[in-house]
Homo-oligomer: 366 residues x 4
């Protein structure tokens, strides 16, 4: 099964395991003429780096990206862009335990069933480090979107049951909060909460929200390639995501049609808008020109220090404590991964959309 | 944009508008030797037919399917299977109003933006009738799954805030309840509620739940083609779906790792199982052999009789009442559509999975 | 295996067997706003119809096309276009012989091996009637190309060893010659030759040449999706094609670089051109703005009346005479099929090409 | 346009330019459990290395491959396999000339038209070095085929008009001849001829033939994904290929049906075979169990020292001599590239074929 390639016209191919030589991605279908150098990519990668705060694994990984192809004089050429981050902590001696049992909540068992055996070092391909390739590609996708006036921003909406209060939120706070929460009060409560969770050698989940501004109307397809369907796949393809919703989301299931419908209006200058945005910017699978809003539910980190039941390869029931210090929460480091997957998907859909009207195709080739 | 084709190895291509000559689908990649005749397909189609209960549009459409190709002596041959349902109510005279304005909650505006104009008769391609093709294909996919011992069952979990009580549920109830609810008390409450909603010319949303039994472990891909990612796309590609979740779903965001992790155990006969199923049958994007559980949030029908604000093509703000009698809820008729999209996706993933191990490929070609 | 779908952005899905209810195609990804009615498609289909001349099977099939979806007021809407031709001679009683043996040169054996059994009526899916779907889709693709100033024309270059003389050719002759040969002297020689072949209950092959004018420079990809690579697949996917060449083709294998290289020049008005066109309009997989030239080698019709050796399903060696009157040559009826596959491929490549430059994407979305 | 990815289930993604940091490929969809180490890949790469004989460019490139991911203890894990060859001669100072004009027979003009500018250093992405990625992936594909008893062998059939005599050919000769010709007399004639060509600062073309043994019957699809159609694309996607033919190829255009049809026979042990193989092992797009035979026409190297006409970026007509010492012929170094593309395509088709019969799918999942 060929499942490490994503997208159609703008296509990324990721590779690498946590304990191999490195992690990388090839971006194929990036148009020529986009400004690109390593520092642009690095800014995105730094947001998912471990060891940035006390709420993430203290492993030190510099995760410096190298661009191996596809640019000439700091511009993309239209050729595939290969990028790589070398792994630094490759000592795989510590993983003999993991080799002999299935960690609860991890993909140990399912990998063994699928492939007949598994690379047990640090989770192998199912490691969170796999997202390095997504984020490097996401940085390029974001560059394309920005050139078109489109901006994607994700942030932490909740950690456990601590949720942001929109009245206290500001965009600038996102980068100030060590947890990427736009409400600094909630952020500070969550920090305390996480310290407690860590003390108990446990972990917790949360919700990431993502907003897209500047999206033109008319992008997406009415049937299978709906904009929201592709975003749902993009988000759910991130490890640990257990749910995704657009606009009103699960809340819409409880609403009446008269409340959930967004009504149209012209203002005095004959500009069209919607009076509300329950739809989250997508109607019938196609962008409607308002903000796109979506949310991802992230499960708690499965690696916990607390004693857990499981089985070993002698077919015995055993008890384990997963060693090492792991993130008590995946959410903050996953924020930039959500942004990346959304950006990559939007670029792909914007590209696909260019052939929807004959008059525009004629104009293009004139 | 080529968006009416879904799947990779098992691929469906749907076509048709609500007021054209008919609705159809071509299924490409169905293996040879599967029993297939029209009555098998018809059973699935009858579950989404309008006019079946008083809670759906009273339009009478017999929706009889015709198989046009791909079978020989009631077995599939490996050639593409073309199926068609002829439309019967094609009088498009009634749609002059809709042509001149954008209905709130509908895709009228987004279609116009994408294509430059739109086929306004009954929603054209964005009509719920488009799902006929999905269900006809889903019937074939279900036949393949059943031959492999896999069964997909969806049902209504909630309507507005009326939710089933699992203690009162039975599988048999699903087909008894006119709303496909496995808890008949909840079903009866919901029926009363819907009559009220209809009186107020309003509509309401709900939640569909879907269970897959018999799924072998090891199916799905660890990266982009995760089983849950593909299911999320499949479900969200159904019109009116605003959210999807797997297993614990959004609830997982509030859980501790020690609670959310499913622990493994061997019983006395050395059979492996999980003590719980918060994961919903999928770990790291790959099936773990337990039941797959997912849910879809369905928004209220956007077509309501109540007066609504909107705009017309003279750029005026106007008030409208959407004419005709529409379903007060989409949920019950969408149950079989969810089942169909899940079945199609599982077949595609099972097929993709056949090349994951060299030893099994050698065995296959021996 | 899902092999009846072709293309990426402009995608066709064909279905149907020679003795089923009909033959059809769904075109997905056709832009909105293209003029389309049945008469446009019919003109293309009539060129491949049997019984048009004495050099093709006298079976009478009217092959009238019906458009089932995707148009509104004679314009495409952007929705999938479903088209169907009903079969008229479906009496399958005559095929009991064929069911019991493998016809030489046919796909009887390979179908049985692939699918475990086969629909033996008239070749089933491997019948030449399968090309009806290609030609109907090709008519739409040609409409798109024409709107962009691009024209595809194929014709018979040779039949057996009777080859056209370019000095005697004219474009108008193609439609005058019953064999679609642009040199009427060669056409008349070939007609006599074919009458002879028919008398001997034999068949013969030939070569089709195809010219594309008006193709803009810069279309195609430098690596796997080369314009010529896709054209080679498109052409070779037509039954009976055993070779394909571009420009100088196999002749280039004997040439020196100094002769095969086309040199560039500016004329007095600073217009760029090539002094020759050995490349056939494609350099490095990308169109160079000059005429695209390609050729297809077509094998002789495998169905012949002459006595042939073969085997039956009793594992006996037997002798057979394939019954019925078959075309003594496939070439003339395949001319429009070549044109169609080239047109479909060019549309797909033109669409893919729209995202190659960032400046043009920004311009598009401004 | 995303054109550097090839295949469906077994998928390769190549990257790199002749004067960037290196050349690489990611192989996605390789099954787990295949033996793989660098020395296996290196054997294939060494066959396309420059400087191996006096008939190729004397540039010294060691082209040592490094496997970066996808293996564990010298076995593939099912994860993507990333491989890289570092470039060694990256001094791009010499290419100032090329930047200012279009070399005849090269993709200089078409790249500029497509992308707006080009990486002119050594041809950039259109360099022959791009095939390193194909050959590295081809080595893996060949490993899979060999495990299934399938073997692909290509060789030089002709250089200019010097053609091998099948009576003098032996498989072992292929690796003895510096030109990979299985007839050593023809090889020695061709060597003399090439020395002459080099003296005249010219180049010449040739034909590569490829034989596949051990291919099971029943692989390929009857419609668009014909085995021969995919092979034709695979071969034509190699730079410099101008034609491809299967079995009798263009010769079939001159044959009568009674001669071109291969007749079936059972021998005394009831083993089925064909009395001839004009079809080249493929009937109706599906393998028939006999040898697959195909040929590729390769044009002369466009880089020649002889004076040529062209134009510069001042829109002037000029004369140039392409500097450096270039291969006088591409054919011998392309032999392993043809083998690689055939192997990759066969693996992809074998994988796709696994879902053609319901009984075999049930058997697989039992």
């Amino acid at each position: 099964m060929s499942g490490s390639i994503y997208g159609n016209q703008f296509r990324i191919s990721t590779w690498g395991e946590s304990h191999g030589k490195g992690i990388g991605v090839v971006v194929d279908g990036c148009p020529s003429g986009l400004n690109l150098e390593e520092s642009i990519i690095q800014r995105y990668l730094d947001r998912r780096k471990p060891g940035r705060t006390k709420y993430s694994t203290p492993r030190k990984e510099s995760d410096m990206v190298e661009i191996l192809s596809g640019t000439f004089e700091n511009k993309t050429t239209g050729a595939p862009i290969s990028m790589m981050v070398h792994n630094q902590n490759q000592h795989s001696g510590d993983y003999s335990d993991i080799a002999s049992y299935y960690r609860p909540g991890h993909a140990d068992y399912t990998f063994s069933e699928k492939y007949g055996f598994r690379d047990y070092r640090g989770g192998g391909r199912s490691s969170g480090r796999e997202t390095i390739g997504r984020v490097a590609a996401g940085a390029i996708a974001s560059g394309i979107l920005n050139a078109l006036g489109i901006h994607v921003m994700a942030y932490t909406k909740s950690i456990g049951d601590i949720t942001i209060n929109y009245n206290k939120c500001s965009k600038d706070n996102v980068m100030i909060s060590p947890l990427y929460m736009p409400d600094l009060d909630a952020s500070s409560l969550a920090e305390d909460y996480l310290l407690n969770i860590m003390k108990e050698q446990d972990s917790v989940g949360g919700v990431i929200e993502c907003i897209v501004t500047g999206m033109p109307a008319g992008v997406g397809d009415p049937t299978f390639e709906k904009l929201d369907a592709n975003l749902a796949k993009a988000i759910t393809s991130i490890g640990a995501v257990k749910g995704v919703e657009i606009g009103e989301g699960f809340g819409a299931a409880n609403l009446l049609g008269s409340m959930n419908n967004d009504t149209w209006q012209y203002d005095n200058n004959r500009n069209l808008s919607k009076r509300s945005n329950h739809a989250g910017g997508i109607l019938g699978g196609i962008s409607d020109g308002s903000e796109i809003i979506l949310r991802a539910a992230i499960k708690p980190t499965p690696s916990i220090g607390k004693t857990q039941e499981t089985v070993n390869n002698q077919k015995e029931n055993i008890q384990i404590n997963v060693k090492g210090r792991h993130d008590p929460i995946i959410v903050p480091r996953a924020v930039v991964v959500v942004e990346s997957m959304v950006a990559i998907t939007l670029v792909d859909m914007l590209f696909a959309n260019m052939t929807s009207r004959m008059d525009k195709i004629i104009e293009f080739y004139k």
